[in-house]
Amino acid sequence: MLKTLFAALPLALALSLPAAAQSPYPDHTIRIVHGFAAGGNADTVSRIIADALSQDLGQAVIVEARPGAGGTVASGYVAQQEADGYTLQLLVGGHPVAAALYNSLPFDSLDDFTFISTVGQFPFFVGAQHGRFASIQEVIDAARANPRSIRIGHAGVGSTQHLTGELLGLETGVQFLHVPYQGGAAATTALMGGEIDLVIDAGTVILGQADAGVFDALAVTSGERWDDRPDVPTLAETVAPGFDVLSWTGIGAPAGLPADIAETLNAAVNRALQDEGVRERILALGASPVGSTGEEFRAMVERQIATWTRVIDAAEIERR
């Protein structure tokens, strides 16, 4: 019996082949590549989306971390992969930053990618030790009175957090001392210990401490007040009119992805973002689940490349 079954197996496989060739996308495992350490924010978002896409599309979706050089190792890799919808990339706000910061990237940050949909958007918060400053206005006044006396810790040279701090200095016309740390957590620890005066970082880093009364969230970097924290004023309404920095995560693919596959994926991502469980997890990461069209996504990246190029030029940050 068993023998007969095994004998029939190759035949069955052979018969199924033509059928498989015609089956609609997706017919095998999809992978989402990202460029950051396993377990980081990008990794977690990738896994949330992978989980949802795999249920929606009925195929396994795996996550592959290719960390290095601010995510550019992964982008360089993805840009060279087949545009067949089986290799996707979790892009982050660092993608336009890299385009502005690196001298010679082995890829074009816009033209080598198909932008599918954003996944989440999140602002940064300006945090200080509780009671140290009454308002963000007081910080700016102090910095204006004594240039380089206000020390802002950031997550690394050329990180979005760093450039946001530089942009704040440019827009308000004051000089801060920018102090680099290895990641937002190290900067937060330094702020707790009083080594620095401010940290600009995501809500996940600042808000838990603010709720516990350790930090004050002095301001938020988004153009509008953040739904989750309506009591925190924006930089735009207080010290820097027009200030609007939002970081984000989104799903992309190599350039030249067939339109029907791009549509399938865009619809699947946007459906996932309606799912209550997915929304909750993304909200827990301090972001609001916001989908988009591919065009909107691309336009946002293009705008941000221009902004960060201006900041890097003005702050005279050395390109690498």
């Binding site: 350490a37 396993a38 377990g39 980081g40 924010n41 990794d43 977690t44 896994r47 949330i48 992978a50 989980d51 592959e64 971390a65 290719r66 960390p67 290095g68 050089a69 601010g70 550019t72 190792v73 360089g76 082995p106 020390r151 690394g156 040279v157 050329g158 001392l177 102090v179 680099p180 740390y181 290895q182 990641g183 957590a185 190290a186 937060t188 620890t189 330094a190 707790m192 210990g193 080594e195 620095i196 996940t204 808000l207 838990g208 401490q209 709720d211 516990a212 009364g213 350790v214 469980g277 909750e280 997890r281 827990a284 990461l285 940050i317 050395e318 690498r320």
Partner: protein, 500 residues
């Protein structure tokens, strides 16, 4: 405090929670044994599972993987000179010579026993002194870190078995290798030939290459048959009373050192194990026995890295700030379960806080119970002929290193470091100080330059801040003492041997 701990024990002893503690430590033990595959890889793979668990069970599971891996890491170090995790590199130094002398069973027992005691002391400190330890950790700024590293480097300059000058040369090689990558202070790329190296050389690939791969090259080359008599009776595995006495001090000192470095964000189990070993060598009356399979050289680092694994939860649980990448994953798991980590965790979520801490206690007990019976099984591994074993080991190293950053460059580098380690050993240079320099060099540079940036280039900051000044004074005292005792010994030697 004890009352809350008992409440936590009540949480863990529920079968539905206990099963996650058990699963965690078993997985941890396993990935610890496998070279290169670290706790980070395993935890991030399992993170999505925690979507379907509550926060307490999630952290208990993930934490178990982390401290469980500290137990497993020593096994391959002892049997094959192949560190399972970077924090068990030091265990190779004494553990492997013991295995070569046919005493692998005893070495494994000492490692498991020391790990258990160290882990338990770490847990006790988390229960009793988490808040004061966290507030001390917060007083460590850039200047303090810089001076701590200097003290550590001076104290540990004796690590390895060769001459001090040779060991110093290797520390410098390690520091040079640590320079590769983006400079934290300026973001400038140093010695980065390819984008894969932008974050620097990986500690895992350096450790696996210098120890694991180089040992394989040497073993394959050597004509000498591997020892055939392998002792696996319980009598051979258990230490004698004298041996127990010999390791008591090292275990306690190791636990103290480990608890300190664990609680300090940015340092951790790997540095703790190096420091514990260096201190033992310093305080030993018979420093010459190190490198030949000396028990305190296994007991101290094993106790130290397990204590560090436990106390590294202190900043995470009490302050809500992760001290390293593994702890960042723990925070991630909490956040995904809707728990905002921060100083209020202990007050708002007492069952979670104390349940997790109680799980450390239970987890360490389970690990001890798993490890003791397994010793005989592990020792039997040595009966497999080496020519059949080493291809498997090489493949495991490659897979492990690759899984770490999904980078082929890392795999090639590992093999390169293997050849380097082999060549160095042939000219009697020890590889261990390379790792020490590699870990401590960048830590010093980053903090030294940050201290300069924060203080406008004023060098006096190192002497005027209280903790930093104390560390500097200790360093100077240690240097003076070493030079003076060195000179005294030379004078004695000259007097003893009259000029001919």
């Amino acid at each position: 405090m004890l009352e809350q701990f008992m409440m936590g024990l009540g949480v863990v002893m529920q079968p539905s929670v206990l099963v996650y503690a058990l699963a965690g430590v078993v997985i941890g033990q396993l990935i610890g044994v496998l070279p290169g595959i670290g706790a980070i890889t395993a935890i991030s793979l399992l993170l999505p599972i925690t979507f379907h668990l509550d926060a307490t069970s999630s952290i208990i599971l993930l934490a178990g993987i982390y401290y469980g891996s500290q137990y497993g890491g020593s096994i391959a170090s002892i049997l094959l000179n192949l560190p399972g995790t970077p924090s068990s590199v030091v265990t190779c130094l004494e553990g492997y010579p013991m295995a070569q002398k046919g005493r692998a069973g005893l070495a494994l027992f000492i490692a498991a026993f020391s790990s258990f005691i160290g882990g338990m002391i770490g847990v006790a400190l988390v229960v009793a002194a988490a808040i004061p330890m966290a507030s001390i950790a917060l007083r460590f700024g850039a200047a303090e870190y810089a001076m701590l590293v200097v003290l550590g480097l001076i104290a540990a300059s004796l690590i390895g078995t060769g001459s001090q000058l040779r060991s110093l040369a290797m520390v410098l090689v390690g520091i040079a290798l640590g320079l590769v990558g983006a400079d934290t202070t300026t973001g400038f790329y140093r010695f980065v030939g390819m984008p894969e190296l932008a974050e620097g050389i990986s500690l895992v690939s350096l450790a696996m290459g210098l120890f694991g791969v180089s040992e394989i090259i040497r073993s394959v080359n050597s004509e000498a048959p591997r020892q055939t008599r392998i002792a696996v009776s319980m009598r051979d595995i258990l230490p004698t009373r004298a041996e127990f006495r010999e390791i008591t001090g090292p275990i306690l000192r190791g636990a103290g050192i480990g608890s300190f470095f664990g609680a300090l964000p940015g340092t951790g189990a790997a540095i703790a194990s190096f420091m514990a070993y260096a201190v033992e060598k310093r305080v030993s009356r018979t420093p010459g026995r190190f490198g030949t399979g000396h028990l305190p050289g296994i007991a101290a680092p094993e106790s130290s890295n397990n204590a560090a694994a436990q106390t590294s939860f202190i900043p995470t649980l009490t302050l809500g700030v992760p001290g390293d990448a593994v702890m960042a994953l723990m925070i991630g798991a909490l956040v995904l379960n809707g728990v905002i980590p921060g100083p209020r965790l202990m007050i708002d979520q007492p069952t979670l806080f104390w349940g997790v801490i109680a799980s450390f206690f239970i987890g360490n007990l389970i690990l001890l119970l798993i490890n003791i019976p397994l010793i005989r099984l592990w020792v039997l591994l040595l009966r497999i002929p080496y020519r059949k074993l080493y291809p498997v080991i090489i493949i495991m190293i490659c897979v492990g290193v690759y899984s770490h950053r999904t980078s082929v460059v890392d795999v090639v580098l590992t093999l390169g470091f293997g050849i380097l380690g082999y060549l160095l050993k042939n000219v009697r240079f020890e590889p261990a100080p390379i790792l020490l320099g590699f870990v401590l060099g960048p830590l010093f540079e980053e903090n030294f330059r940050r201290a300069m940036l924060l203080n406008g280039g004023d060098f006096t900051v190192f002497a005027t801040r209280p903790i930093s000044g104390t560390l500097l004074a200790c360093t100077v005292a240690l240097l003076v003492y070493s030079l003076a005792s060195g000179l005294a010994a030379r004078r004695r030697a000259r007097r003893a041997a009259p000029p001919s």
